[in-house]
């Protein structure tokens, strides 16, 4: 499949169209709004569903096959914040808290971007290793911890700080991690046969549910567009260059650690995407002085749509080219 066809396939999928519809609705000041409960319900559903699916695959995967990618994942989770932080400090001139917050977000992962990449590969008929959802779970936490540690070292005053162990517990028991890890465990324990009877709920309607979720993401994203404008050029530059760099490294590292082109595309998406659930919650709790107008605008209003529209097909194309997928 050539590059143009990939782009077309992506842009004209109901998912991306729903995202665009959400953006348009906000821009024309429509009163369209999804109930909060629907948003939560859909995110619980999506997290549990990818966990379940990943768990079934994980059970069928020899440890040897997953060890390499897992190691690279953990490494990336530590390295991305270690590079993001100084960039934000020096090039952006940001405060300690703002820089550490950005580091936490870009080191961690956007579940929806990952899921959109999976759906993209499914549409394109490109196979991938099912266990990669496990890597997603692995990548959620380390970057957050590294970034918070950086902030802790750099900050002298810690007025009324919550004890470190409490913060650690809060990060680890955050709902997105509990649902993905829980889903993985459920899938691994139940196995393909066990999960089969819940597939009409957790598997078949998945992409449709994701489409509805992306409608909401479009609404939410567009509400931040005002802040993109006022945020200055550094944010825009970082939000678009960082995913390309991380994604390109991700493709290479993924292929090198033995993944198929499809798997490497997903792996690249993990690295390239920026969290706005787990990392945001952790940052709100542990670095409340960091400005959401920066980290959330970057990850949600710049990098997220960038990956959806440009990033994912780019990583897929790269992985095909380097991984010899042919096409």
């Amino acid at each position: 499949m050539d590059a143009l066809e990939l782009v077309r396939l992506n842009l004209l999928s109901p998912m991306i169209l729903a995202f665009a519809l959400g953006i348009v609705a906000t821009l024309i000041r429509s009163d369209l709004r999804l109930p909060d409960a629907l948003y939560s319900a859909l995110s619980i559903y999506l997290l549990l569903a990818i966990g379940l699916k990943g768990g079934v695959a994980l059970r069928a995967t020899p440890i040897a096959e997953i060890a390499g990618p897992a190691l690279v994942t953990l490494l990336a989770g530590a390295l991305i914040p270690l590079t993001t932080y100084p960039i934000a400090r020096r090039l952006g001139g940001w405060s300690v808290a703002d820089s550490a917050a950005l580091a936490a977000h870009y080191g961690s992962v956007s579940v929806v971007t990952f899921v959109a990449a999976q759906a993209f590969l499914d549409r394109a008929g490109v196979p991938y290793e099912g266990f990669i959802a496990t890597l997603l779970a692995l990548l959620e936490v380390p970057a957050i911890l590294v970034a918070l540690l950086i902030a802790r070292r750099a900050q002298t005053t810690q007025e009324e700080a919550t004890p470190w162990t409490e913060t650690l517990r809060e990060v680890l028991t955050g709902k997105s991690i509990v649902l993905i890890v829980g889903g993985l465990a459920m899938g691994a324990a139940a196995g393909a046969a066990g999960v089969e009877r819940v597939e009409p709920f957790f598997v078949d309607p998945f992409e449709g549910a994701l489409t509805l979720f992306l409608l909401e993401m479009g609404l939410v994203t567009a509400r931040r567009f005002g802040e993109v404008r006022s945020a200055g050029p550094f944010l825009l530059a970082y939000g678009t260059i960082a995913p390309l760099v991380h994604g390109t490294i991700g493709v290479a590292a993924g292929l090198a650690s033995g993944l198929s082109p499809g798997g490497a595309t997903l792996f690249a998406t993990l690295l390239a995407s920026a969290s706005y659930i787990a990392a945001t919650a952790a940052v709100r709790l542990a670095l409340p002085e960091a400005s959401p107008g920066r980290y959330l605008t970057a990850s949600l209003a710049i990098t997220f749509p960038f990956n959806l529209v440009i990033g994912i097909p780019t990583y897929a194309r790269l992985a095909q080219a380097w991984g010899g997928g042919g096409g």
């Binding site: 909060d36 939560s40 007025e159 009324e160 919550t162 809060e170 939410v220 509400r223 931040r224 706005y276 659930i277 945001t280 919650a281 709100r284 709790l285 409340p288 002085e289 400005s291 959401p292 107008g293 959330l296 949600l300």
Partner: protein, 104 residues
């Protein structure tokens, strides 16, 4: 019973509006400050504000009927531990309750 029920007492209602992410911490602290019960209503983010709630579960509106001393302690505690760091709004006012003994 009808005797006791006829008597009003003055108590205070403390209202706290906070990001949902602070819920567990707030519960813990409110209890420590002497709050005996509370009512929680999920609230939407502030459309004028930073909209952090948009992606992480919105805001909570917590309301507790308490005595004057507990109210002072709660407002002081919130002021010291939350107001300067977090997006928290807190206020209280006097109300008239029946069976005030339930809210020391």
């Amino acid at each position: 019973m009808s005797d006791e029920s006829a008597s009003w007492t003055e108590r205070r209602v403390v209202t706290v509006i906070a990001e949902a992410v602070l819920y567990e911490r707030l519960l813990h602290d409110l209890r420590a400050w002497g709050v005996g019960g509370l009512t929680v209503v999920p609230a939407e983010g502030d459309p004028f504000g930073s909209r952090v709630g948009d992606v992480e579960g919105g805001f909570l509106r917590i309301e507790c009927v308490v005595g004057t001393q507990v109210a002072d302690r709660v407002l002081r505690g919130l002021s010291e531990r939350y107001l300067s760091r977090f997006k928290v709004v807190a206020y209280d006012h006097a109300v008239r309750v029946v069976r005030g003994a339930k809210y020391p």
